[in-house]
């Protein structure tokens, strides 16, 4: 077997350097050995050749917010099934959240995730560890030891760290280790028992609403703590215009603050809930159309650095319930790219900033070597057909749970092939035959 693989006749896009040109890419030993217009049929010797037929070859996507059910709720999703969904979605690296059972707050549990991923997953898996023991918001977790074990960031799961003093200490302590603190932003009192955005829509449906201010208040507090401590801070998901304004102001003051947004909040709004459709129930909740527009603007301007799937598998038992009693969350790994390309085809955001938010930006925040097309970088790649239309069918998605808000949605553009460390992990043409 040849030791090299050559991907020829591609449109190479590297969102970090701005590269966008025809050419080829040479893979050796799992890394990118060379790339450019000079890589073509006559120059690659006996390398195995893949003809890219002019499609986009980009760094594989890095999804900074993925929940699986492993450990604890494997019937919803395992690392293996999540990784298959990821590969089919062009996602080559997933960051898994610590709010499992048990909570990932101990070195042995970080080891467990890494070992299970090595043995069962077909994409790269990095754990985010809990910032407080048991995610109880009381005692700081062993941030230094967890980082050394392989935790790429620290999270408080699906809740904010309400105790301001503990949050201050976490940020200050994490700073010494260069650790990134990633948090859900939501005032726990304003959002208690509430299940959707607070607006005319919640009033009409008779559902308790979470005001956008609940997010902005917590984000404002956190930013002030960043100012106090200098800790690196990333708001996992923002969802409203007020939060975007706060992020912009914090950046203008030079604070080490960044934020993400879920693909759901970029492409859906509260009206999609219709009459109590629980597959649109999530946290933060889908907001108003004006808030959605703000999120799109934020990605276009680069003030929102990261787009996440917020993949959160929930089975029918916990979703097919009255709205207020149904679980939050939606799956998203396999639809992340297709939904993101809506923004490109609608001419809301150019391709480069969208891809940056899915590749090089999360890589930079997390200190990963991937997320770019460059010599020496891991050969984590996705080959994208930007134009072919397709329809999402929930039953055909690879996740164990089928709670997608995009069932029946029409997307334009899909993943043709996915490579992790040079190995093909997904091929659309093969998958179709199954």
């Amino acid at each position: 077997m040849p030791s090299q693989t050559a991907l020829l006749n591609a449109r190479l896009i590297d969102p970090l350097s701005g590269l966008d040109q025809r050419g080829g890419l040479l893979i050796q030993d799992g890394v990118i050995a060379d790339l450019g217009s000079h890589i073509e049929k006559g120059t690659v010797g006996d390398a195995a050749v893949v003809d890219c037929a002019g499609q986009v070859l980009a760094p594989g996507l890095i999804d900074m917010m993925v929940s699986t059910g492993e450990p604890g709720h494997e019937h919803r999703e395992t690392l293996a099934t999540a990784s298959e969904a990821a590969a089919a979605g062009g996602v080559t690296t997933i960051i898994v959240m610590p709010n499992t059972e048990p909570v990932i707050d101990d070195v042995a549990l970080v080891d467990f995730i890494l070992r299970r991923a090595r043995d069962t997953a077909i994409v790269n898996v990095h754990p985010m560890a809990a910032m407080t023991k048991g995610l109880l918001s009381e005692e700081m977790a062993e941030i230094g030891l967890l980082r050394d074990a392989g935790a790429v960031a620290f999270s408080n799961g699906k809740t904010s760290l309400a105790n301001t003093k503990v949050m201050r200490n976490v940020l200050a302590y994490a700073k010494d280790f260069g650790a990134l603190i990633v948090t859900h932003v939501e005032d726990p009192f304003l959002s208690r028992d509430a299940v959707m955005n607070q607006s005319e829509v919640s009033t009409r449906l008779g559902l308790r609403g979470i005001p956008a201010a609940a997010e902005a208040i917590m984000l404002d507090r956190d930013i002030r703590l960043v100012e106090l401590t200098g800790g690196r801070y990333h708001a996992a998901q923002i969802s409203c215009r007020a939060s975007l304004d706060l992020i912009r102001a914090a950046k203008a003051r030079g604070l080490p603050v960044s934020c993400g947004v879920s693909i759901n909040h970029l492409t859906l709004n509260e009206n999609d809930i219709g009459s109590y459709r629980t597959f649109f129930k999530m946290r933060p909740p889908l907001r108003s159309e004006d808030d959605r527009r703000a999120m799109v603007e934020g990605v276009a301007s680069g003030d929102i650095e990261v787009i996440v799937s917020a993949h959160d598998p929930q089975d029918a038992d916990v979703k097919r319930r009255p709205f207020a009693e149904a679980a939050d969350g939606a799956i998203g790994l396999e639809t992340l790219l297709g939904a993101t390309l809506r923004l490109y085809h609608d001419k809301d955001v150019d391709l480069a900033p969208l891809l940056r938010a899915l590749t090089s930006n999360p890589a930079k925040l997390l200190g990963l070597p991937s997320g770019r097309l460059a010599k020496g970088a891991p050969a984590d790649l996705v080959l994208i057909d930007l134009d072919t239309p397709w329809t999402v069918e929930a039953d055909r998605l690879r996740s164990k749970s089928k709670n997608t808000p995009f069932d029946g949605a029409q997307f334009q553009g899909r993943v043709c092939q996915t490579f992790v460390a040079g190995r093909p992990v997904y091929h659309y043409a093969d998958a179709r035959k199954l």
Partner: protein, 318 residues
């Protein structure tokens, strides 16, 4: 015309009654006309008819209710149905059975009509998707209570001869009230001017967009009103920092003779019950000649008979 004759002419194109939201003004008039006939029938010595003979009506109440449940029970029996009451608060829900499991189980018993009350908004509609029979919403969380709005409209129409153009002030805990939501929608569809009067903590964000004028003073909100509709204030609202005390609430938002004096002299006073005398309404006023509260209860049975009649036409083999 008799109830049967009116029913045979009616056009009511719905299989379920899940809310006022899905009804047209003409649907509502149809139901109110039918209710008038049912009210007449209920005042006769022989109150019973056989429209629903052989049919099974199940009252499925996940939340305790005395008057709505007994009103539906009586309505079903007056139309000849076999009525079964199931109170779910204490049985399978506590054994972990989901609403959908319950729906599937009940569906297998082949009822013709399910009357459902549930503490969660949207729950009745969810259940309706899972059964083959007709479903009537008897109240879902803070969302809708369509038969209450219909009986209120019937009561108003009998007193005032019309609904269009009337000023109706709905007062009290709008935020948590399914009665308020259904009434706001129904009264708007029939052309009334709807006001809501409540402290801001009990209003709900964006309520004005539902087609109401918003007041936080009873004196202003009741000015020239034709109808004053009071809502029940649950005691737990005091402990969740929505209003400071019963005393203060009654002082500013309870209906008394002084505040009612702002309304038209022939204004009628309504309350969906059960009343908290001395919290939202002066006890003497509840028994005053202007109070239509007892008539509301009577009309409740009539409206529920009318709804059952209307839905019966869509039952299988009807």
């Amino acid at each position: 015309m008799s109830l049967a004759a009116t029913a045979s002419n009616l056009s009511f194109p719905h299989r379920h009654l899940l809310g006022i939201e899905g009804l047209s003004a003409s649907d509502i008039h149809t139901l109110l006309d039918l209710s008038e006939e049912a009210a007449k029938q209920s005042r006769q010595v022989v109150k019973k008819r056989d429209t629903l003979r052989g049919r099974t009506l199940i009252n499925l109440f996940f939340e305790a209710s005395t008057r709505t449940q007994s009103s539906f029970e009586l309505a079903g029996k007056r139309l000849g149905a076999d009525v079964m009451n199931m109170s779910m608060g204490t049985s399978s829900m506590q054994k972990g059975e989901t609403l959908i499991d319950t729906a599937v189980t009940l569906n297998a018993m082949r009822p013709d009509i399910l009357v459902v009350r549930h503490h969660a908004a949207g729950a009745v509609e969810l259940l309706a998707q899972k059964v083959d029979c007709s479903v009537i919403n008897a109240g879902d969380g803070s969302h809708e209570h369509p038969t209450q709005a219909l009986l209120d409209a019937l009561t108003i129409r009998r007193h005032k001869g019309r609904i269009e153009g009337l000023i109706v002030a709905i007062c009290g805990d709008i935020l948590h009230s399914r009665v308020a939501r259904s009434n706001i929608m129904l009264l708007n569809k029939l052309g009334a001017r709807v006001r809501v009067v409540a402290p801001s903590t009990l209003l709900g964000v964006g309520i004005a967009r539902l087609g109401v004028e918003v007041y936080s003073s009873m004196h202003e909100g009741l000015e020239d009103a034709d109808v004053v509709m009071m809502l029940r204030l649950q005691r737990e609202r005091m402990t969740s920092s929505l209003v400071p005390s019963q005393r203060e609430y009654f002082h500013f938002f309870g209906l008394d003779f002084d505040k009612l004096a702002r309304a038209k002299p022939d204004a009628m006073v309504m309350h969906p019950g059960p009343m908290n005398r001395g919290v939202e309404i002066d006890s003497r006023l509840a028994d005053d000649a202007r109070s239509a509260i007892r008539e509301q209860v009577e009309m409740g049975v009539a409206v529920r008979m009318a709804v059952l009649e209307a839905l019966a036409r869509h039952l299988p083999n009807a």
